[in-house]
């Protein structure tokens, strides 16, 4: 066999090898982008895709009435359910002008999780909930049922709500209502006509 033929065969083999390598790498890259992303705190917002608008009716305290009064909200429904709950809690904590938000100043939601089997939403608030809470039976009831009733009214899948503060269970907020057990809604602050 002449040298020319040998060189040509080696050249073709090299070209074939490089071509195969490029095709392999390209297909690998494509396959990688098709893998479902794992939701973490960093990329959760990227994964959340706006699909539709969702309407809420949130009840706030007012100075004039013992009933909480409804306010209509409309937000974009995220794909992740927990994200929807988180946005809803933010609406509760932010409140609305001329309405009373029965939550102490500085309180933020640390984290939340939904326990599907128990249909229970667990809310973990920051330490300010304990340290800034103004003592009183009605202040405790107003806070608890403002959160619980609004959540259970707007999310039918949530049957009860449990509160944590900085990841821990608290016996009471200021010595009245038992906080160790989850709360069922009672809607006693909601007027029948407003539902």
């Amino acid at each position: 066999m002449s040298k020319k033929i040998i060189y040509s065969l080696v050249g073709l083999a090299v070209i074939f090898f490089i071509g195969s390598l490029l095709i392999f790498l390209k297909s690998g890259k494509e396959a990688k982008t098709k893998e479902p992303g794992i939701l973490t705190q960093d990329n959760v917002r990227e994964e959340v895709q706006v699909q539709e608008l969702i309407k809420f009716k949130i009840f706030f305290l007012t100075e004039e009435s013992r009933w909480m009064r409804p306010v209509q909200y409309e937000i974009e429904r995220p794909v992740v359910r927990e994200e929807l709950y988180r946005r809803f809690i933010e609406l509760l904590l932010t409140g609305k002008e001329n309405y009373i938000v029965p939550v102490p100043g500085g309180v933020k939601l640390r984290t939340l999780f939904y326990m599907e089997k128990k249909q229970m939403l667990v809310l973990d608030f920051t330490e300010e909930l304990a340290t800034n809470f103004p003592a009183g039976t009605d202040t405790e009831l107003e806070f608890i049922y403002f959160i619980v009733d609004n959540i259970c009214f707007n999310f039918k899948e949530v049957k009860m709500v449990k509160f944590l503060i900085s990841g821990n269970e608290y016996k009471t907020l200021t010595g009245h209502i038992d906080m160790e057990n989850p709360f069922y809604p009672d809607f006693k602050f909601f007027r029948q006509d407003d539902l």
């Binding site: 013992r66 103004p134 039976t137 202040t139």
Partner: protein
């Protein structure tokens, strides 16, 4: 290798644990349609159950503390006493029943470890000795007959439905002792100021003043024994408050508080009794859920434990009486005080939950309301509050005597 290491680690943990003596707490209380007996250990234990005509015997494979005791249950309609004797370093608990009975359900719960028996009165003639299968621990392989559970579910539903209306008929109330001891609980104290008004008036001071005035009225006019959860400006935990009432066998528990609201305009007095989500209206529904949960004993989870806790709460037995006491006190507050009537309400108050007696929490007025804050500074207003609560209590005692005696 990994399994062997796990076994070794487990035995290292379990062997020292087994050396500690077992401490057992026994409870028995009536529920609509059945009586629940609970053996609560500070750790798990193995046992065998024997059923006799009017006795239920629980044999342990070890000795429990305290040994050789008799626990009586005067308030139970079915359980008379539990006798504990130690033989061959093993404990035997004999539950003496007032009549022949049937084991409606028996099951085991963990955290804390509890062996629970639901007993119902039985009219049928039964064999003198009828062995009962010990309920399985969550790790045991043996299961109690599911058939027995399913049979009793329907029975219990019927009994509960029947018993729901009973308290409305005075004739069928069980007999109870005359009221001799009342526990007054002035809310907060010490570093726990409670609500604080804009004039820096602390709830803890008002509750103590009213508590003392109320004590004086009850002792001087009724001649009854009054136990105070605190008589000075000291901090008392919520658990200690109810323990004081339970340990002194108080028959009425009145907790005095001053309210506060996010709404400055909120005003008036309120009287609360506890809501457990296992109140009479919910009891049947809860029982149904509970029955479903026990269809598969291995599925007993935290949620079922929660329901068990609710059932276990001593106040469950006194809901109707607490409601009556609250109603009388609130009516008197409405008459004597010129404050807005906010009525009788229910809420899961921690201090009321484990009270083994009719128990209410009175919110005199709102410290967050400027007008009512001024009133709360007047001694005459606090006198009126004490008088109103006193009259409410005395009306309840008359009611109690006419119905239960």
């Amino acid at each position: 290798m990994r399994n062997k290491l796990a076994l070794l680690a487990l035995s290292v943990i379990l062997i020292p644990l087994s050396l500690f003596s077992l401490s057992l707490n026994i409870r028995a209380f009536d529920h609509p349609g059945f009586t629940r007996v609970v053996f609560e250990g500070d750790r798990g234990f193995e046992f065998h159950v024997g059923k006799f005509k009017t006795e239920l015997e629980i044999q342990l494979k070890e000795k429990a503390e305290p040994g050789n005791t008799i626990t009586t249950f005067s308030r139970s309609s079915l359980v008379e006493k539990v006798v504990h004797r130690v033989a061959n370093n093993r404990s035997v608990f004999k539950v003496h029943l007032k009549s022949s009975f049937k084991v409606n359900r028996n099951f085991v719960l963990e955290r804390p470890f509890r062996v629970v028996f639901d007993l119902v009165k039985s009219e049928e003639k039964e064999a003198d000795s009828e062995p009962v299968t010990a309920p399985p621990t969550p790790t045991a392989e043996n299961k109690p007959p599911e058939q027995q559970e399913q049979e009793t579910v329907q029975e219990e539903k019927e009994k509960q439905t029947d018993s729901e209306d009973k308290p409305e008929e005075p004739g069928v109330f069980k007999r109870r002792a005359a009221i001799e001891t009342i526990c007054i609980d002035p809310g907060h104290g010490g570093t726990d100021l409670g609500a604080v008004g804009s004039l820096k008036i602390a709830e803890k001071d008002i509750t103590l003043k009213v508590g003392k005035k109320l004590k004086q009225l009850i002792m001087s006019r009724m001649g009854l024994h009054v136990v105070m959860t605190r008589e000075n400006d000291n901090e008392v935990s919520l658990n200690s408050r109810v323990s004081i009432a339970n340990n002194n066998k108080a028959q009425i528990f009145v907790s005095i508080h001053v309210n506060s609201s996010y709404r400055k305009s909120a005003r008036g007095s309120e009287t609360f009794f506890v809501s457990l989500k296992a109140t009479d209206q919910d009891a049947f529904q809860l029982s149904e859920k509970e029955n479903k949960a026990f269809e598969g004993l291995n599925d007993v989870g935290e949620d079922d434990e929660l329901k068990m806790i609710l059932w276990d709460m001593a106040q469950n037995e006194y809901i109707k009486e607490s409601s009556k006491l609250a109603e009388f006190i609130q009516e008197e507050l409405n008459v004597l005080l010129s404050t807005r009537n906010r009525g009788v309400k229910q809420a899961p108050f921690r201090v009321l939950m484990r009270a083994a007696m009719p128990a209410v929490l009175v919110e005199i007025a709102f410290l967050s309301n400027p007008h009512e804050q001024n009133k709360l500074q007047e001694d005459s207003f606090l006198d009126n509050v004490a008088r109103a609560v006193y009259t409410g209590i005395s009306r309840y005692i008359n009611y109690h005597n006419s119905v239960f005696r």
